[in-house]
């Protein structure tokens, strides 16, 4: 159960990565940094207002706007260049973000706890389960389903799906593609921010929290198949469960088990579980 909820955090991050990559061909190495930024924004909002729920709503907006700025200022000039350039740029950017946060808040972690309403445990039969964990899982599921509906049912979602398949054609049909790309980048970053604030009471807040999870998000995307929505969901859940089960049984091997899983998937299905071969 903990594994499933932990996996849902990977799902949120991997969906953002997949969405951004699908439309923009940008592998966002700063995704983990934005996840961390989400948690820190939540720390700031809670310390100012004392309201966790406000933070939960505000963080994706604030971090998403930050993403919008990054897309406008830094990534847009690189669309015409090789796919490596935007990857390298976001890699450098992640250093800058992490170091700025270290300068502002110190290298050590920040205290952040679940809101009082969710701080006790839930008893299902004889199994005790933290209420916050249940809430976290529920919120992540809501986000995943909402994003799916958004992509399937709205006009903008249609444009995004079309642009993922053939961006030149979409542009030829008169869509303001620059705006679509900016929106998608902001959306993906907002998801990372949301994952950051959701996971903060559970996993703690520190400047380096984005790194480990970024690599797991990459593994998720590789396992699920980059560009596949339900692939990212399945990959994230699978990795979450494998990680928490091995942590329980053989704590030393948890990390290695996840990477071995990735190696296995690569052997059997190089394009990922639900990915299409190019």
């Amino acid at each position: 159960m903990t594994g499933v909820v932990g996996g849902l955090v990977y799902v949120l991050l991997a969906l953002g990565l997949t969405l951004i990559f699908g439309l923009m061909r940008v592998v966002n190495f700063a995704h983990g940094a934005f996840y961390m930024l989400g948690a820190y924004t939540a720390v700031v909002i809670v310390s100012l207002t004392g309201n966790f729920w406000l933070a939960l709503i505000m963080v994706p907006v604030v971090v998403g706007l930050g993403g919008l700025g990054v897309e406008r200022g830094l990534i847009r000039p690189l669309y015409a260049r090789s796919d490596y350039d935007s990857l390298l740029l976001t890699f450098g950017l992640s250093f800058v973000i992490v170091e700025l946060v270290k300068l502002g808040f110190g290298k050590l972690g920040q205290p952040f706890s679940a809101p009082p309403a969710l701080s006790d445990t839930l008893a299902i039969g004889s199994i005790y389960f933290p209420k916050y964990l249940a809430f976290m899982g529920l919120a992540a599921i809501v986000a995943v389903v909402a994003l799916w509906l958004f992509l399937q049912r709205t006009d903008l979602g249609l444009t995004i799906r079309a642009g993922t398949q053939d961006s030149i054609m979409v542009r030829a049909l008169g869509v303001d593609f620059d705006r679509t790309r900016a929106t998608v980048f902001a959306l993906g970053i907002a998801l990372a921010g949301l994952a950051g604030v959701l996971n903060a009471p559970f996993a703690g807040v520190n400047p380096d929290m984005g790194l480990q999870i970024l690599i797991f998000a990459f593994v998720t995307v590789v396992v699920g198949g980059l560009g596949s929505y339900w692939g990212a969901v399945a990959g994230g859940l699978l990795i979450g469960v494998v990680y928490s089960l091995t942590s329980l049984l053989f704590p030393q091997l948890a990390q290695v088990a996840v990477f071995s899983l990735m190696a296995l998937v690569l052997l059997a299905r190089p394009a990922g579980l639900l990915g299409r071969t190019a």
């Binding site: 490596y84 740029l89 590789v222």
Partner: protein, 339 residues
């Protein structure tokens, strides 16, 4: 009319041919420059680091600059070269070169396995995979505390004198003999660079560049691109392993961060800063990075902030890197002067 066409000013032409000659023998020129420069540079340790990381960046450049593969886990092989050399020295006290050979065998054998997996995908997928496998090796060494010392690092690596049969032995321990250790490193690095140069101008190297330009076309020409890229990956791992071995000998201590993603990122930055696809660029990049780091770290803790910012600017405005932009400028001037 015919006479005026030949009336090119002689001195300028001479300068230009010298420039071409330097460009044709970059390794020899670099070796002479580095060999003489050390006599006037006060910071011998920084200069030695430059050689080690220059070679490391060069091995990375074989992948990015010549094969078109962006590896985000190149520190894996640097670290394994270091650990392999250090452990063999600690256990058996063999000749320095034998220990180094053990380190680079470990590095290149691992490169063969990891490369085989990672090369199932290309471009950015490959980058993500190299990063993931780097983490995997990192955690294996982290857990193997009894052998590697885990996150405490591997301490007390003995560095014996360099024995030359029938002649004698030269002390190369770095703290007491910075200059002789520097020349030892220089000889190893130059030998590696000559080997790399030889590899890259061979038909194999040309095939590599053909794959970089268009893998589909190279395959259509009958090249087994998977095998060629894998061989390039192993070569790159091997030379990174040599750099790692030198690193271990230099510091007498290996921290686990040697093969972390941070070191992998540093080598990416060095190579891109200097300019990939040339033999000299990565050295220039390593030099800029290390000198700036040395300088900036005196004033602030946040060196990585500056490194990241410089790197972002470089990617945005100088994708050819410092050396690439510089030679590009000189070349265009040369063309203009001739024309």
């Amino acid at each position: 009319m015919a006479n005026t066409a030949h009336a090119v000013p002689a001195p300028r032409l001479e300068v230009d041919t010298r420039w071409i000659r330097i460009r044709q023998r970059p390794v020899a020129t670099l070796a002479i420059v580095l060999g003489v420069l050390i006599l006037v540079v006060p910071e011998k340790t920084l200069a030695t680091q430059l050689l080690v990381f220059g070679l490391f960046a060069m091995s990375f450049n074989m992948l990015l600059g010549y094969a078109g593969l962006l590896s985000f886990g190149h520190s894996t092989f640097f670290g394994l070269g270091a650990y392999g050399t250090a452990l063999v020295l600690k256990w058996w006290h063999p000749h320095v070169l034998a220990a180094m050979a053990a380190g680079l065998v470990l590095a290149s054998a691992t490169a063969l396995v990891i490369g085989w997996f990672c090369l199932r995908r290309r471009r950015v997928y490959f980058s993500m995979l190299t990063l993931a496998f780097n983490q995997m090796v990192y955690f294996i060494l982290f857990q193997a505390r009894d052998i590697t010392g885990g996150d405490d690092g591997l301490r007390g690596i003995p560095l014996p004198d360099f024995d030359i049969p029938f002649i004698g032995s030269i002390p190369i321990e770095g703290i007491h003999n910075p200059l002789s250790f520097y020349y030892f490193v220089l000889i190893v690095v130059v030998a590696c660079l000559l080997a790399i140069e030889r590899i890259l101008i061979s038909p194999f190297g040309r095939a590599l560049e053909a794959i970089r330009e268009s893998e589909e076309r190279a395959r259509a020409c009958g090249y087994n691109s998977n095998r060629i890229l894998l061989l390039a990956f192993v070569f790159a791992g091997l030379f990174a392993g040599v750099a790692g071995a030198l690193y271990a000998l230099f510091f007498g201590f290996i921290g686990l961060e040697t093969l972390s993603w941070v070191t992998a990122g540093v080598v990416v930055m060095m190579a891109i800063l200097g300019g990939v696809g040339t033999l000299v660029g990565p050295f220039v990049g390593a030099a800029i990075y290390l000198v700036l780091q040395d300088y900036v770290s005196k004033y602030t803790d946040s060196w990585q902030l500056y490194a990241g910012a410089i790197f972002v600017v470089c990617v945005l405005f100088f994708p050819q890197g410092v050396w690439g932009s510089l030679t590009g400028l000189l070349q265009s001037r040369w063309v203009r002067n001739r024309g």
